[in-house]
């Protein structure tokens, strides 16, 4: 049966101005985690959240994380851990968000002051953090408040984990999640994260997969120091020549990865999975707009989305140690380090992939017959994540979307990674759902970041409705 949500929804509409006012207060705190001078503002934002939660009757802890590893003069901002409700007869849902934001200066090109929430006549609410991720975080608080004001019983116990370092590497968070998995988070039946975006602007989505990323360096060295190409050109094996040969051997212009042992690991497309692609609201024009060009490899949406979501890709990022400035310099660089990464997908294994890359790069270098030296290593690796979109956590969210937006959501994956997703899944052993509030045009890390008023207000309804549906969804 569909939960009786009408009075909650009505209250959200009634409180809309107050909820926008709450977002305005949050956006006004410039909680930029990357900037030393803003650290007190990040901490202030954590306290703001904690105070709002306490006022709503939640139990709150500000959990210190110690000193920042690479900036030991700074304390890490605290993680806000909250609990609202403690009824053994209800399901417990753990939600994650972050209260820090990307850097922003008016002079970067913002049309309005980035820390003054500015609503235009199309209902676009501009401000740094509006969509990433203060709007969604406040969505949970607003949902609590609307239940209270409407006199509707809150359907679940809500556990909250809001961090202040997401835009600067989530320092210290993984350890905390693992430590609290069997403590503060022990009761959680499922996890929900609202920190990504719709595929387009019209149709909501639920996200069930993320690619992983293995990032590699290939260093080629020879001469003792950079050389003059006039004096030495033609006499020595040049590290750049060798490196460029290796880099060119990795991938072709159509995006095909030439390294044996990569595509062999990729899980085959199932009929169920393939069906998910049929209805997705996505056009090549959407992609061309975000690319700023029509230089796509495929001409159709299905192979394009599959290339983004469920197949690995290899990108060449650049070369360290070579000449990289404008102008002309006749240098033979002595040591150059190529950087590339592979976006990984099910069922690719990190160690198997690393071994395949190392073996191939070593073979390619050996073929060159160069006297230079070569080293290849992984700078960092991160696993892909895929959840079952048929899990009751997703089924509940799909019902909430359909109830609020009147349309069944797309089931999407993303090409990038949100590492905390996997950490929650691995630490709690529970299903994790990505339930986005904002749309593809919000410009999370750009100038003029915004959240549409409709996405915020309907999003609050959606989060609340999700909690009702997830409270009663039968286990599968």
């Amino acid at each position: 049966m569909a939960p009786q949500l009408d009075s909650f929804f009505k209250q959200v509409d009634t409180s809309a101005d107050a909820f926008i006012e709450r977002l305005r207060k949050a956006v006004a705190i410039p909680s930029i985690s990357a900037e030393d001078a803003r650290r007190p503002d990040v901490v202030r934002m954590g306290h703001f959240l904690a105070d709002e939660l306490k006022a709503l009757g939640a139990e709150v802890e500000l959990r210190p994380l110690g000193k920042e590893p690479h900036r030991p003069h700074l304390d890490l901002p605290p993680v806000v851990l909250g609990r609202y409700g403690n009824d053994k007869n209800k399901r417990t849902i753990l939600v994650y968000g972050h209260y820090d934001v990307q850097p922003a200066e008016k002079s970067d090109g913002w049309a309005t002051d980035p820390f003054t929430l500015t609503v235009d006549d199309k209902g676009r609410m501009f401000g740094r953090g509006s969509t990433d991720d203060k709007g969604p975080v406040l969505g949970w608080l607003n949902a609590i408040e609307a239940h209270q004001k409407a006199g509707v019983e809150f359907p679940v116990n809500l556990l909250m984990c809001f961090e202040g370092m997401e835009e600067y590497g989530s320092e210290g968070l993984d350890d905390l999640i693992r430590e609290e998995a069997k403590k503060f988070f022990a009761d959680a039946d499922a996890v929900c994260i609202s920190d990504n975006y719709w595929l387009g602007t019209e149709k909501p989505c639920l996200t069930y997969g993320l690619r992983g990323c293995n990032y590699y360096s290939v260093e080629v060295s020879g001469p003792g120091a950079d050389l003059h190409s006039g004096v030495f050109g033609g006499q020595a094996h040049e590290p750049m020549t060798d490196l460029v040969q290796i880099m060119a051997s990795l991938v072709d212009s159509k995006g095909n990865i030439n390294i044996p042992g990569i595509k062999e690991q990729v899980a085959p497309v199932t009929a169920d999975e393939e069906k998910l692609y049929d209805t997705i609201a996505f056009t090549m024009a959407n992609l061309h707009e975000s690319l700023g060009s029509t230089t796509t490899i495929h001409d159709e949406t299905k192979p394009t989305l599959m290339a983004r979501w469920r197949y690995p890709s290899l990108s060449l990022h650049g070369i360290e140690g070579a000449f990289s400035s404008p102008g002309a310099k006749t240098v033979i660089p002595a040591k150059v380090t190529g950087k590339f990464s592979i976006r990984t997908v099910p069922d690719m294994d990190i160690d198997t992939t690393n071994a395949a890359v190392y073996k191939y790069v070593e073979e390619q270098f050996a073929k060159l017959g160069s006297k230079n030296s070569m080293k290849v290593w992984a700078q960092h690796t991160g696993k892909w994540w895929v959840a079952s979109p048929k899990h009751w956590n997703f089924a509940a969210a799909a019902k909430a979307v359909e109830r609020v937006w009147g349309v069944a959501p797309d089931f999407t994956r993303e090409g990038g990674s949100i590492p905390v997703t996997l950490t929650f899944e691995e630490a709690t052993g529970k299903n994790v759902l990505l339930l986005p509030m904002g749309s593809s045009t919000d410009g999370a890390h750009s100038i003029n970041e915004k959240l549409d008023k409709s996405n915020y207000i309907e999003g609050i309804k959606m989060l609340g409705a999700y909690l009702h549906y997830v409270a009663e969804e039968p286990q599968n």
Copy 2:
């Protein structure tokens, strides 16, 4: 007949301390052309030279060159034009040198103050500009003075052209040379430049060739802005992938240029030329020492020297627009520009070479089947220079070397370019000789630049002796 040089040589030995003192005064003026704040010192150095020349009875002009093109707040330092002797019955020799120096700070790692000439117990005279090019420039003045003191008639009319911008692009000099070719330089019968180095440390050389340099850019662009490799990897043609394929197609690890139409232009080795290589004082150990490694393509000296001097080479310098810092950045660069250059040799033609490069790069790009855009162009081009080592100008210099050093000189070329050489040849139509004073270990642009006392004092004798031999050498 050999000129009677004994009393001149004896006088040089007698005046050795005074000549070193003259070099000390010159080194003490920090005439760094690259640094704005040192411009008055560069001008002061020009006046010092002019005053010394006047004191020796030369006619001198300080020729202004106007404002510096890219630093219009600075006047270019003047060119010192000098004439010593105006006897219609004598040959007239035009000599070139420069009185500016490379930057130098004690803190760069100098063992002694770079602007205090410091002579160690091995006779090494350390100081910025000692060998590049104040020692050789003063060599001409010292030769005049020793003739005067010894009462030996000066054998030629000497025209001098000393500039103050050589280490910063010789701004304005080419125009002056072309303008004065039929005026101040009109009488010149031959040109001599002392601004390069012996191939090693033991055996003098005469240099008769330089490679040219064509410097190319290849730009590949696609997306409207840099992209996130997670979000976009696999869906778009990546400019880096295309560029690296193109760059890898240009040259192999053994230094072979793959572009059709390059090696076809190279002049065949003649028997006469090949003979010049047989006696050259050069070992692979010399090269390994200057490389700082043993990563040479060839194991023997003759193919190595030919690769440096008389064959083209292609070096990949780097990529502009890609990620070039330490660390990891998951960027797909939107526009990348690869830089490479070809060192050119006889009989390569600039236009033919450019056309071959453009055609090949365009073919390689077309093969990729990419939707990205590609442009290739020459940033700058410069012709090779080769003189006949059998010209009477060289024959005279060879006799001078043999008389002073007791050994026939090596006839060498250089892999790099000294553009003024070609300008003098083209503007005057006369033979140009490169007659080095310093040795390969002088470290012209490095810390601890030095000129050996023996190279300076014997070098003065050599320059003087050259003027005697060149005065009487029959035309050929």
